[in-house]
Symmetry: C2
Subunit: 258 residues, 2 copies
């Protein structure tokens, strides 16, 4: 879960940060120590330094949570707010036209990370959260990112267990490969009820100047009054707009898998 060497000071410090999750965004010192796998005095000392710097903040009751200072520097992540900033106008347009959920996501390892989400108040409920992760094989953005991912990644994802979220979730590796092939030929992905039965999403790839797929946009609508064929061009137009805004592409999306 952490990735760093737990024995080093830096590793322990980062483990403290990693202890915070969407389910537990606020922790006591003891919880922090337990979750990070460090002793209590260590957690206390490291946390104190993080607080002094602004990476963590302390509530009046003494609980810890992620600090604004960390959020500030983290907002410099090119794949985070950088991408988001460039995409925002296009996502706005998508939202205004459709009044549905608009999502922007990138791939991190074998998962999707949602970078932005505009949720219509009346739109269909989605499970996702900005900064949250999800499996690649079910969502619209996930299918796009997987379709254009390096072959090693595809093999790794399709070789491991594919979770089932609804009856419609495609979990057979061979079937998923067919879906991915379709995504590549059509240039967009459709996920119909694969995450929640009432939601359908249409996603398209965003490419950088080298032609590599670096992100994906999607529109998530109610499954019943949805027509993927109509939505696709709109989503693709937004994706192309964003691609242009981030400097690319000089050539067409790269096809890592023939």
């Amino acid at each position: 879960m952490t990735g760093g060497d737990e024995r080093s000071v830096t590793g322990r410090t980062l483990a403290l940060l990693a202890a915070f999750t969407p389910d537990a965004p606020e922790l006591t010192l003891s919880e922090l120590a337990r979750r990070a796998g460090v002793t209590l005095p260590t957690a206390h000392r490291r946390a104190a330094e993080l607080v002094a710097w602004g990476a963590l903040e302390r509530t009046p009751e003494g609980r810890y949570h992620i600090g604004l200072r960390l959020w500030e520097v983290a907002s410099l992540a090119p794949r985070g707010l950088g991408l988001r900033e460039a995409s925002m106008p296009f996502l706005e347009d998508l939202y205004e036209i459709t009044r549905e959920n608009v999502q922007l996501a990138v791939r991190e390892g074998a998962e999707v990370v949602f970078v932005e989400r505009i949720a219509g108040r009346a739109a269909v409920a989605v499970l996702t959260r900005v900064g949250g992760r999800f499996a690649l094989h079910a969502t619209g953005v996930g299918l796009v990112l997987l379709a254009y991912a390096p072959v090693e990644v595809q093999d790794r994802v399709l070789g491991s267990r594919l979770d089932r979220y609804t009856d419609k979730t495609v979990t057979d590796p061979v079937a998923v490969r067919t879906v991915l092939a379709n995504v590549r030929t059509r240039g967009y992905a459709v996920s119909d009820g694969q995450v929640t039965l009432d939601a359908l999403s249409v996603a398209a790839p965003i490419v950088d100047r080298t032609g590599e797929v670096v992100a994906a946009v999607s529109l998530v609508v109610h499954a019943d009054h949805a027509d993927p064929a109509t939505l696709a061009p709109v989503v693709q137009a937004a994706a192309r707009g964003i691609s242009r805004a981030i400097g690319g592409p000089r050539k067409r999306p790269r096809m890592p898998y023939i």
Copy 2:
């Protein structure tokens, strides 16, 4: 600039993160070491660990930038994306009604930190950036946050140098105090051409359940076709909506300064 003790390992590590700024979001190892004030081998070792964890990422050319993993955990900051998430629908509404710039900000020490910005494509240009900072005494959101800040903060800000951005910027401490008093009685702030001459902003306070002002929303419009008195109710309505969404208030905004 850093705030942490440079002598400790954690301090040095955090200094590395602090080396990244909006003007320099991507650094070579040497630049990183220089900016963070650490020796080159130290920068190399610490950076390597940060990369292993995902706090930093390395470009193919060997340069460093903030990593997505850090962005993910940082997105758990309650005053960052937490607040943003709750505010988004209201900001959307504001944007759709007015088609102008919508801003959401909090106070961090003696400065404003912008948490969200929806920029109309045709709206007036603003200097601000999500994750960026600005002085408290000039912007609309800044005036609101300053007006409801603890007296110590007000004194500290008004006691130090107040930068002038345009001819209209109010830089006299006494004059600013009058402005702040007006903000508190009216319940909203107007900044007319104080940051850039062609922009006017109207801002209103967002309060939490204890009645404390924790954030501010503003609308930034062209100075010529602007009527603050008309805009104020709209902005205030959004501010109240957001306040309700984050759980508060049980009572009215607190007045720290009689």
